[in-house]
Structure formats: structure tokens, C-alpha cells
């Protein structure tokens, strides 16, 4: 479990994180989202002890260990896959992973079996004797993932884990996350929102250093359902369509895009629109529900022009 309470972090006078609080329950997979410059990497860097939080931060614990008091001990409970993955190109994969395993405290007697285990987990066993400089981006990413899994840490922080992977490898990665789910607390930072929607149990979204959404799958699914729109197109032109659609109970907003109308409602009003069409003798050429996506929610919550 990860608990963050009032975490702040500044770079000089710029506040990268402004008293953010969130929890990642044990065994869950949490998507950590936000535009570039929102503070995702800073948060992950605090969780790996690379950066210290500002004074005033109340609590940061990783797997029950207070990161502010015992940073090294807490760090050993974390396996991290960094966004920028600097691997030593001159070493063989097995040499690199063996050295990393020793640094992470894997006993010498279990070293080879542990390295083989993580390589099998990420489907990269055949690359164990290859020199890292000769590996493709996909392989490098998998070696980084294998490194994060070394020592079986209870917490995994994965920053853009599927970058450079082909569709087959992405599918394998999803399978891997499914296997790890329940045994590991996983934080997955990604810009691929479809992937987050498929994999994650929770979503934590930050924007401009503040948490703007922290919900489990049930809550965010409900939010997406209520944020969906209905598209209405008529075969002939009729006057006053917009005001009649607006009069339906539950409809929040109706706007026209020239070819038709987009109806936003608090609940499913498709059947009410159908009833209205029958009463008014409208011939519907299209009546379609467009569900909201995590992407539309992301754009709505993080606002325009956030990137920096």
C-alpha cells in the first residue's frame, strides 16, 4: 500500500506538487495520469527516494514503511521502471541483471534463478546473453521491466511501461500485470489512456501539482456513463428541435453541430428522445449513444494548454 498525505515538492520557487494526497490500496493497479509537467514524475521520484518532499509533508509510506524516516528501507520495497531507461550498453543482459539483483539484496545462491525468473516473466529469456547495446527498444523496455521485478518487491512503479513495445508484447504486458495483480501494489504512469482504462482498478489524475481525480473503477465508470452524449440527426428539417430536446427531463445541454444535435444528459434519455420524435413526427436518421472515454475525462479535468 502507498499512502501519501499532503505531499508538496518545489523546485526553487515553482511548486511542482501542491499538498497532494492519495492512497494506492494493496494489490491494486492504479493508473497515474496527468499532462506533461503535472508532477507525475516528481511524485514517482519522491516514492523512489530520489527527491525529498518539502517540509510540511505529513506522511509518505510505502508498504507500511515511512519514507520520510527510512528512505533506503522504503526504497527496497519498490521496483521501479523509469521513463528514461539508461541501461549500461556495454554489459550483457545477464551481467546487468545479476549486478542489480545483488544490489537489491538477492542472495548470491538465488541470483541466477531470480534473473531467469524475471526474464521469463517479461518474455526475454532468449536475450540473456546479448549485449544491451545491440537490443531493440522493445527488448530494452522489457529488460527495464525485468529489473523492476527483481527481488519480488511488493510495490511496482512503472513509468510508461509499454513504450516501444509491439502489439504482441503489449498484450503480454497486460497478461503480466494480471498475474502480478493482487500480489503487488502497482502504480502505472502512462499517456496511453486506453491501456489504463483496460488495466487499472483505480485512477489518480493530477494536474498542475494537484490531484483532480482519485477514484476506483466503479466510480470512474459511473462518471463516464453520466458524461456520455447522445447524437440526434433528423431526415428533414424541423423548427425548434433544440428547445424541444432541452425540455426532456434529465437533459443538461443540447448543442447543434450543423448536421445534428448533441445531447448531454444526467441519465439515459434515448427512449424519451424516441417518444418525442414519434409525437412530433420527426424521422430520425440517427440516434446514437457516444459514451465518454477516459480521454475525454482527462481533457475535461486537466484543461487545455497544460503541457509544459
Amino acid at each position: 500500500m502507498i499512502e501519501v498525505d499532503s505531499l508538496s515538492r518545489s523546485y526553487g520557487t515553482r511548486k511542482a506538487l501542491d499538498s497532494i494526497s492519495f492512497q494506492v490500496p494493496s494489490g491494486s493497479v492504479t493508473g497515474f495520469l496527468g499532462p506533461n509537467g503535472a508532477g507525475k514524475t516528481t511524485t514517482l521520484r519522491v516514492l523512489t527516494s530520489w527527491l525529498l518532499p518539502d517540509p510540511g509533508t505529513l506522511r509518505v509510506t510505502v508498504d507500511g514503511i515511512d519514507l520520510l524516516r527510512q528512505p533506503q528501507r522504503a526504497c527496497r520495497r519498490v521496483g521501479a521502471l523509469l521513463e528514461m531507461l539508461p541501461l549500461p550498453g556495454e554489459l550483457r543482459v545477464i551481467e546487468f541483471l545479476s549486478a542489480r539483483a545483488r544490489l537489491k539484496g538477492v542472495p548470491a545462491a538465488k541470483l541466477l534463478s531470480e534473473v531467469q525468473r524475471v526474464l521469463e516473466e517479461v518474455d526475454a529469456s532468449e536475450a540473456s546473453r546479448r549485449i544491451i547495446d545491440t537490443l531493440s527498444q522493445g527488448y530494452r523496455q522489457r529488460i527495464g521491466l525485468a529489473d523492476a521485478l527483481l527481488g519480488d518487491p511488493p510495490v511496482l512503479l512503472l513509468d510508461e511501461p509499454t513504450r516501444g513495445l509491439d502489439p504482441r508484447q503489449i498484450s503480454l504486458f497486460r497478461g503480466l500485470i494480471d498475474r502480478l495483480r493482487g500480489h503487488h501494489t502497482i502504480v502505472l504512469s502512462s499517456h496511453v489512456l486506453g491501456e489504463v482504462e483496460q488495466i487499472c482498478d483505480r485512477v489518480c489524475m493530477i494536474s498542475a501539482g494537484k490531484v483532480c481525480l482519485d477514484e476506483d473503477r466503479k466510480a470512474w465508470t459511473q462518471r463516464l456513463e453520466s458524461a456520455g452524449t447522445i447524437r440526434v440527426e433528423l431526415a428533414e428539417t424541423h423548427p425548434d428541435v433544440e428547445s424541444q430536446l432541452s425540455s426532456i427531463e434529465g437533459v443538461r445541454e443540447v448543442r447543434s453541430d450543423g448536421a445534428g444535435w448533441i445531447v448531454s444528459a444526467d441519465r439515459d434519455v434515448c427512449h424519451l428522445i424516441g417518444d418525442l420524435a414519434r409525437q412530433q413526427n420527426w424521422v430520425l436518421s440517427q440516434l446514437r449513444t457516444d459514451p465518454a472515454t477516459l480521454e475525454s475525462l482527462f481533457l475535461q479535468l486537466t484543461g487545455p494548454g497544460e503541457a509544459s
Binding site: 533506503q72 526504497c75 521501479a80 541501461l87 549500461p88 554489459l91 549486478a99 544490489l103 539484496g105
Partner: protein
């Protein structure tokens, strides 16, 4: 301590699988071999003077001043630049362990170079009149001063992300400890100020003491303290990134 040794081993492995280590070793042995030969000619058969003649010349000092910065310049600077230092820290290793591990690998490689010369010295000690005690004290000096110069190299490497800038800075620190000796020309024998210069002068320690078989505890304490101080500052510099 275990993590320090593991990190040092990994660093040495990275060094020896690249051509850099072998190139430095080749050039070092070539230059020192020639120096050795010229020293043999210059002592004119008096092999008791050979250690002092070899380990006091400009070539020796060039090696002492330049090798540690060249070996250590990439150790932290390159890792900072590429981001692999962050990856290293995620293993739960402390900043102190990183600094000591990097220094240990640099110092071990530096010692390896001088150990490569030992077969030559062993041969001469066996068949000639080279004093084994003097040879040992001279190499103790190389190890002590080398430890200090490697530590200043690590400090310079933590201060910048550019390996060449790191090498330049470390050479400048080492040059201060080398050039301080020339201040002694300002004083007469017996002046108290001269004693002050002698306490810090790497040249004085090697030329006037260790290559003559004199092992002064103060010399050991000074170079050990200098090494510790450099590594302590390097650790603090590395910790600064967290704030």
C-alpha cells in the same frame, strides 16, 4: 559494506568490458616501461637509487596527476547525465555507498596499473640490489596519494555532468597538492613555514620520505584524512540533489 563491494565490482566490470581500461593500461605500461629503462641507465648501475629515480620524475608525476581524474571522470558525471544514477538509487543504495563504491572501483583500477609493474620490480629485487623495503614504502605512497587523487576525482565527478569538466577540475585539485611543494623554495631550511608546506606536499612525501624508505605516520594520516574529506564532500554534493 556489501553493497559498496557489489557496486565497485559492477563498475570494474563495466570498465574492463570497454576498451577504455585496456587502452589506459597499454599506454601506462608503455610509458612506465620506457621511464623504467631510462631510470636504469641514469642510476649507472647503482640499483639502490632506482626506486627514487623512477618514482620522482616528471613522467611518474604526470601519471599520478592525470590517471585518477581520467579513470574517475565518468563515474558519477556520466551517470548523472544519462540518468542511470537515478536508476542506481532505486535499488535502495545510499548516497554514501554510491560514492564509496565508485571511489573503490577507481582506486582498485589505479592500483591494478601499478601492480602490473610489480613483475619488473620483483625481477630486479631478486637478481639485483633493489631494496625491498624502499620498494614497499614507495608503493605505499603511490597507494595513499592515489587514494586521495581518486577521491578528488570522484568529488569533481559529482560536481558536474560533463566528464571532461570533471577531469579538468580533479586535475586542478591534484595540481594544488603537487605545486604546493614549490612554495618551499620561499623558505630556508628550519623555517616553521617550510614544515607547513612539507605536511601537505605530495612531492615531499614521495621524493624525500617514501622513496627513501621512511614511513611517517603523519603522511598516512594526512592522505587518509584527505581521502575521507573528499569522499565526505562528494557525498554531501550528491545528497544536494534531493533538496
Amino acid at each position: 559494506m556489501m553493497r559498496v563491494v557489489i557496486l565497485a565490482r559492477r563498475e570494474l566490470l563495466s570498465l574492463f568490458v570497454s576498451p577504455v581500461a585496456w587502452t589506459i593500461t597499454f599506454v601506462f605500461l608503455l610509458v612506465m616501461g620506457v621511464t623504467f629503462h631510462l631510470s636504469l641507465l641514469s642510476v649507472d648501475g647503482d640499483l639502490k637509487q632506482l626506486v627514487a629515480a623512477t618514482y620522482s620524475g616528471l613522467v611518474f608525476w604526470f601519471m599520478m596527476l592525470m590517471l585518477p581524474p581520467l579513470i574517475s571522470m565518468r563515474s558519477v558525471a556520466e551517470e548523472k547525465r544519462s540518468g542511470s544514477l537515478e536508476m542506481l538509487i532505486t535499488t535502495g543504495i545510499s548516497d554514501t555507498q554510491v560514492v564509496v563504491g565508485k571511489w573503490l572501483s577507481t582506486w582498485c583500477f589505479f592500483l591494478f596499473l601499478w601492480v602490473c609493474l610489480l613483475p619488473l620490480w620483483s625481477l630486479l629485487t631478486t637478481v639485483g640490489q633493489v631494496d625491498g623495503g624502499v620498494l614497499m614504502s614507495a608503493h605505499l605512497g603511490v597507494a595513499l596519494i592515489g587514494a586521495g587523487f581518486c577521491a578528488s576525482g570522484i568529488l569533481a565527478s559529482t560536481l558536474t555532468s560533463h566528464p571532461l569538466a570533471s577531469a579538468g577540475l580533479a586535475t586542478a585539485i591534484n595540481l594544488v597538492l603537487f605545486l604546493v611543494h614549490w612554495l618551499s623554495f620561499l623558505y630556508q631550511p628550519g623555517d616553521l613555514q617550510l614544515r607547513w608546506v612539507e605536511h601537505f606536499s605530495a612531492v615531499h612525501h614521495i621524493r624525500d620520505e617514501l622513496t627513501r624508505g621512511i614511513v611517517d605516520l603523519r603522511v598516512i594520516i594526512w592522505w587518509s584524512s584527505f581521502t575521507f574529506l573528499m569522499l565526505f564532500i562528494a557525498t554531501k554534493v550528491l545528497e544536494r540533489r534531493r533538496w
